[in-house]
């Protein structure tokens, strides 16, 4: 079955990039690791690797096109394989070249192409926008007459604001440097209590984008940027408690009082502190490689990661994050460097690091908060984590479920994404 090669996430929360060079054509054979295209963001050029071995069945864009991140650039499958096209063509009738846009692709999960369900109603504009964004119109929930997909549905599916505005009322005008709702974005609209993702040190909210495609929940999915990171990079904090209170005020400004929390590393520690702090109604808590459970942290990594200014040293340190270095997307490296280029990002993050770590020591503990939290809590750690040793996760409160994943490093959400998404989704759903 055909699988997509996606347009990589080319920079800090960018939604699209330009396809500069195609290195393959339809019919070419590729193997895992081959470079199939070159794409660029505003700041840098990235190679696109094939994560599949097979034959290029279809290429969705031509050189010079703008492509939406995490949407298919091309499809790889078995030689001679027929792509399944929907029975009812909508837009495609007038423009045969765009017919392929209606091929249904289920995100980056490597899920195979399903047979097309009957296409629902949609406005011409919605179809055009979906087609331009490489989205399958049938995946988009419609709110127009008779459930028709209209412009705002495509936009809320693609972006954030309109969708989240339906679910949550963000008083964005009132947010300020002191916190506010600025650092919170919707990754996917939905219904019910929102699920908030909190990234780890050195990442940003866009790092969740590939992962959320694998989540199997109906809830709206939100993410925030910690102070010193992403769109909150101008904000700072002088202690772990400072980070927590910054996030708390972001949530207050957004009117978020009842939610699920999913965090990674430092973000998991922040999530735990919020959950155990009593002021929020946290429905469930999912912690990936959490910080704050013991004193040890890989201080060399923190220092090396922050001081790397070129590809080679950064690559060397990023490799430490994972068990299998081949699983690190090449784009991460370039995106990290591009994000630092000409900004004070690294300096801001060094300040945050100084607030929470002293060399190889974590200056805070979440054990009390974890003990106090009474909702469902799952912890997912990699047995080969070289950043925060997995033996920190011993002697946990008895209500905490721990999943220890072999041959996984500090990024279980990357290295064991389908399993971690399944566990996280189950935890969210368990809270009703």
């Amino acid at each position: 079955m055909a699988r997509p090669i996606l347009m990589p996430q080319v920079g800090q929360d960018l939604t699209e990039g330009k396809l500069v060079t195609l290195k393959v054509k339809v019919g070419d054979k590729v193997k895992k690791g081959d470079i199939v295209a070159e794409v660029e963001s505003e700041k840098a050029t990235f190679d696109v690797e094939s994560f599949e071995t097979g034959t290029i069945l279809e290429i969705r864009h031509k050189e010079g096109d703008t492509a939406t991140v995490l949407q298919p650039l091309m499809l790889v499958g078995d030689e001679g394989e027929k792509l399944v096209l929907p029975a009812t063509e909508t837009v495609a009738a007038a423009t045969p070249a765009s017919a392929s846009m209606n091929v249904s692709v289920a995100g980056s999960s490597g899920v195979s192409l399903p047979a097309a369900p009957g296409a629902g109603r949609s406005s011409p504009l919605a179809r055009r926008l979906a087609s331009e964004a490489g989205l399958d119109i049938r995946q988009i929930p419609g709110t127009g007459p008779g459930g028709a997909v209209v412009m705002k549905d495509v936009e809320s599916y693609r972006h954030t604001a309109p969708g989240e505005a339906r679910v949550l009322n963000f008083p964005s005008a009132t947010s300020s440097a002191a916190g506010g709702a600025q650092g919170i974005k919707s990754l996917q609209p939905g219904e019910g209590d929102p699920v908030l993702f909190i990234h780890g040190f050195g990442a940003d909210l866009s790092s969740w984008r590939p992962f959320v495609l694998l989540m199997n929940v109906k809830n709206p999915l939100l993410a925030l940027d910690l102070p010193g990171h992403g769109i909150s990079q101008a904000a700072t904090a002088s202690s772990f408690d400072g980070i927590v209170s910054h996030v708390r005020s972001q949530l207050e400004a957004a009117g978020l009082t009842r939610l699920h929390l999913i965090g990674h590393s430092l973000g998991a520690a922040v999530a735990t502190e919020l959950a155990g702090g009593g002021t929020l109604d946290v429905r469930s808590l999912t912690l990936m490689s959490p910080a704050g459970l013991g004193p040890k942290v890989n201080g060399d990594f923190v220092e090396g990661f922050l001081s790397a200014r070129t590809e080679a040293p950064l690559r060397a340190w990023l490799d430490v994050l994972v068990h299998d270095a081949a699983k690190l997307p090449g784009a991460l490296l370039r995106a990290t460097l591009a994000g630092r280029d000409g900004t004070s990002l690294a300096a801001q993050q060094a300040r945050i690091a100084g607030a929470v770590f002293a060399g190889s020591t974590q200056l805070f503990s979440i054990r009390h908060a974890l003990q106090r939290y009474e909702g469902p809590v799952r912890m997912i750690v990699g047995m080969n984590d070289h950043i925060i040793p997995p033996d920190n996760t011993v002697a946990l409160p008895a209500h905490v479920a721990v999943h220890r994943l072999p041959q996984v490093g500090h990024l279980p959400q990357l290295e064991a994404a389908p399993l971690v998404a399944r566990l996280a989704s189950e935890n969210v759903r368990s809270a009703g």
């Binding site: 406005s123 011409p124 504009l125 055009r128 209209v150 412009m151």
Partner: protein
């Protein structure tokens, strides 16, 4: 500098200024000379320009239109005032088969700078033979220009332009508009044909209206603004030539269109504009194009029924909300 004057005064200024500037301009019609016209558009012109250039006619529309078309072919610049557009039907052969065709059939050597000024639309219970909106009949005929001003400034500028160009013009006023006031620039100006006017800018829905539907569209837009809906009201001002570009630019911005016409729905200009939009801006549309039009009936005499037979402000507001998917297309029976 501008001043507030009535639509009828703006029309009179246009005729007066052009008669003063060009001795070939003359006007004929029923009761237009000594009486000054049923709507007082030509009041005072007889004294100023004399009986040769401001001339009363018998009640004989076929003859009047024939005289006008012939005089235009011969080189004069006639204005023929027909009291009701309904009566222009008597002169249709002169308009459709002669005036509209002459330029083409003479290889461009013959021109027909003829203007038929008349008025249409409902208002005041004057019943089925005095209330029609017949622009579609003229719109349909290649060779005729169709002008439908909604405001005094447009009326003056367009009529002056009509008197300076070389083709037959059907200049359709509205009986409801003669007494309406609006700002009109001081001094000399003309308004070219084929230039739509944005009567109110907005970003949510494009509302296209002409003649007496413009004030209703503006009223609907003002009320919808209170609901947070920003309607862009576009007045094409001339239906032939039609400012397609202005309409398409607005649609590209708003993705939604409502077209309002007082004329009956069937075979109307609104349908033709809708067809242009769907053809050229299909992939900009986020909702079906809505047409708010008169019912497919002769206009009733009864005032309440007359009102019910043509678009009113709430009808326009509902159509706008439907294009925003805020209101269902039909209300289900209880």
């Amino acid at each position: 500098m501008t001043r507030e004057i009535m639509y009828r005064d703006a029309l009179r200024e246009a005729i007066d200024e052009e008669m003063a500037a060009n001795p070939l301009v003359f006007i004929i019609g029923e009761g237009i000379a000594e009486r000054g016209g049923s709507y007082k558009v030509t009041e005072g012109l007889l004294t100023k320009y004399g009986a040769k250039r401001v001339r009363d006619t018998p009640i004989a529309e076929a003859g009047m239109i024939g005289v006008g078309v012939g005089a235009a072919i011969a080189g004069a610049r006639p204005i023929v005032e027909i009291l009701y557009v309904d009566f222009a039907m008597l002169g249709m052969d002169m308009l459709v088969n002669q005036a509209a065709k002459f330029r083409l059939m003479t290889g461009g050597n013959g021109r027909v700078p003829f203007i038929m000024r008349t008025q249409g639309g409902t208002g005041g219970g004057v019943a089925a033979q005095h209330s029609q909106s017949l622009e579609a009949l003229f719109y349909h005929i290649p060779g005729l220009k169709v002008v439908m001003p909604s405001q005094p400034a447009d009326a003056k500028g367009l009529l002056k332009f009509a008197l300076r160009q070389e083709d037959p013009v059907i200049f359709l006023e509205h009986k409801h508009l003669y007494m309406t006031k609006g700002p009109v620039p001081e001094g000399e100006y003309v308004i070219e044909f084929g230039k739509a006017d944005i009567k109110r800018p907005g970003k949510d829905v494009t509302l296209i209206a002409w003649s007496n539907m413009v004030p209703r569209a503006l009223e609907a837009a003002a009320k919808l603004a209170e609901e947070g809906i920003e309607v862009e009201v576009i007045d094409p001002r001339t239906l032939v030539p039609l400012d397609k570009e202005a309409i398409l630019a607005s649609v590209a911005k708003t993705n939604r269109v409502v077209i309002v016409q007082e004329a009956v729905r069937r075979g109307g200009v609104a349908s033709d504009i809708a067809s242009i939009i769907q053809e050229e801006a299909f992939y900009s549309l986020d909702a079906p194009i809505e047409i708010v039009a008169g019912l497919n009936i002769p206009i009733p005499f009864n005032l309440e029924l007359e009102k019910a037979s043509v678009p009113q402000v709430p009808d326009i507001m509902s159509a706008v909300r439907r294009t925003l998917h805020l209101q269902p297309r039909a209300i289900a029976a209880q």
